[in-house]
């Protein structure tokens, strides 16, 4: 059995809905990936622990509120503490351009703005994790 790309999709924060996250999850599923979906109201601790237990290749966060500048670094730090610094992380949502650069600088693999074609996200993940 060949390996499968495993992706964790989560929606951190207390507000909002998870429609966008679900659309992305479904597109990735249709592209043949295994999606672990954890839903709304996720704390950084929950996201990091789930990502580690599920041994995902990459974590995708749907961000609406302004907490992105603390959320991404915190999750990355927690994953590192748990011995899983290899897990990549990406995000989608409304994030100011200057923050995007900063996030990519600290190692966030990619930020997708609103209205991104889900096909672009599929391509982005496929390029990083070609299935044998």
């Amino acid at each position: 059995m060949a390996r499968k790309v495993r992706v964790l999709i989560a929606k951190p924060g207390l507000d909002g809905h998870d429609r966008g996250a679900k659309v992305v999850a479904n597109a990735l599923k249709d592209a043949g990936m295994e999606i672990i979906y954890t839903g709304l109201h996720q704390t950084p601790e929950m996201i990091a622990e789930s990502a580690v237990q599920e041994d995902v290749d990459i974590v995708g966060l749907s961000i609406l509120s302004g907490a992105h500048m603390t959320m991404f670094p915190r999750i990355m730090e927690l994953m590192k503490e748990k011995g899983a610094e290899h897990i990549l992380i990406f995000g989608g949502g409304i994030i100011p351009a200057e923050d995007m650069d900063k996030l990519e600088e600290i190692g966030v693999a990619r930020i997708f703005g609103p209205g991104t074609d889900t096909g672009d996200i599929v391509t982005f993940i496929r390029e990083r994790f070609p299935e044998e």
Binding site: A2, R3, G32, E34, M46, E54, D55
Partner: protein
């Protein structure tokens, strides 16, 4: 990207109790092949102690929500919990949406609760082919209770019955589950029947219906009589009773000396399945078999020899004592 540890190193980290290493080893088991066998060879001696509880039932019955509640109760009793939640792989795309964690959030920060979502992958039923191996790994990792959730479709409920000590069938009042359950053979495999969503009106009568059906079964004296429990995972009612029923079934198995028998049965079926897989793969890969088939099929097409003649010739070729 950082250098990833190899299997030897992963096994060391696993022995130290590192979750990330255990999770990585599960992936290796899922992917199969030589690496998976190496992992199993080295952890197998540490398995055999975990109590396995299977949960099955129709989609949306509340299995994950119940596991979430039950895990809370079992943690109060200091059990270390492994949870395996299996969801189907799409036969068309090979992808899977694994959503059971949504309802299992209460313990997502508890390091003694290890949840792993599995896609059924190559298996046709609702259960992954590597479920046994993942149970082994959690067992060897020190989890003394392994809870397995599978959707009751295809043959999965029968397969779960082959892997678990206690089988819990989760039903809901709506959608005439009573009748469906009987058809699907769920009634045969349940040690405990849960009528969940007891906050709905019809739950009590639906539970009585299940109870009546069970009464029709001829259960010899001294054998286990399946329990029927009303629960609401939403309102957290009936969960204590469910724990009690599961523990009662466990005591019944222990008192009757059934444990060793179950373990032997599980292991025999695993050896058989693994052997069949291996033999099939070797047959498919054998150049000798392929050549002989190619040579002789023409004669079969022409009606000169029967299919069985070819099979006999193949059998001679691969001769097993």
């Amino acid at each position: 990207m950082a250098e990833r540890p190899g299997i030897e190193r992963l096994l060391e980290l696993f022995a130290e109790g590192k979750v990330a290493a255990a999770a990585r080893l599960i992936t290796i088991l899922e992917n199969g092949g030589e690496d998976a066998e190496r992992v199993l060879d080295s952890v197998f001696h540490k398995t055999g102690d975990a109590y396995r509880i299977g949960f099955t039932g129709p989609p949306g019955a509340g299995k994950s929500s119940l596991l979430n509640r039950l895990t809370g109760r079992f943690r109060e009793k200091d059990h270390r919990i492994g949870i395996i939640a299996v969801d189907p792989t799409s036969p068309f795309t090979g992808g899977a949406f694994l959503g059971d964690r949504i309802r299992m959030q209460a313990h997502s920060e508890d390091p003694e609760v290890f949840v792993r979502s599995l896609a059924s992958r190559g298996s046709l039923g609702g259960i992954s082919n590597c479920t046994d191996e993942v149970i082994d790994l959690m067992d060897a990792f020190g989890k003394d209770m392994v809870l397995i959730e599978t959707v009751g479709v295809g043959q999965s409920e029968l397969e779960i019955a082959e892997k678990a000590h206690t089988v819990v069938v989760v039903l809901v009042p709506e959608s005439g589950d009573g009748i469906q359950a009987m058809k699907a053979g769920l009634m045969e495999i349940g040690d405990v029947f849960v009528m969940n969503k007891a906050d709905h009106e019809d739950a009590e009568s639906a539970a009585r219906e299940i109870q009546d059906t069970l009464r029709l079964k001829d259960i010899p004296a001294g054998e286990w009589e399946p329990r029927v429990i009303l629960t609401s995972a939403r309102e957290d009612t009936g969960i204590g009773e469910l724990v009690e029923a599961i523990e009662e079934h466990r005591r019944y198995l222990e008192a009757g000396g059934h444990f060793a028998g179950i373990r032997r049965k599980i292991l025999r079926s695993r050896v058989r399945n693994a052997l069949m897989d291996r033999m099939e793969r070797r047959l498919r890969q054998s150049a000798g078999v392929r050549d002989l088939l190619e040579q002789r099929m023409e004669s079969v097409y022409k009606g000169e020899i029967s299919p069985y003649k070819v099979v006999r010739e193949l059998e001679e070729l691969v001769s097993i004592q």
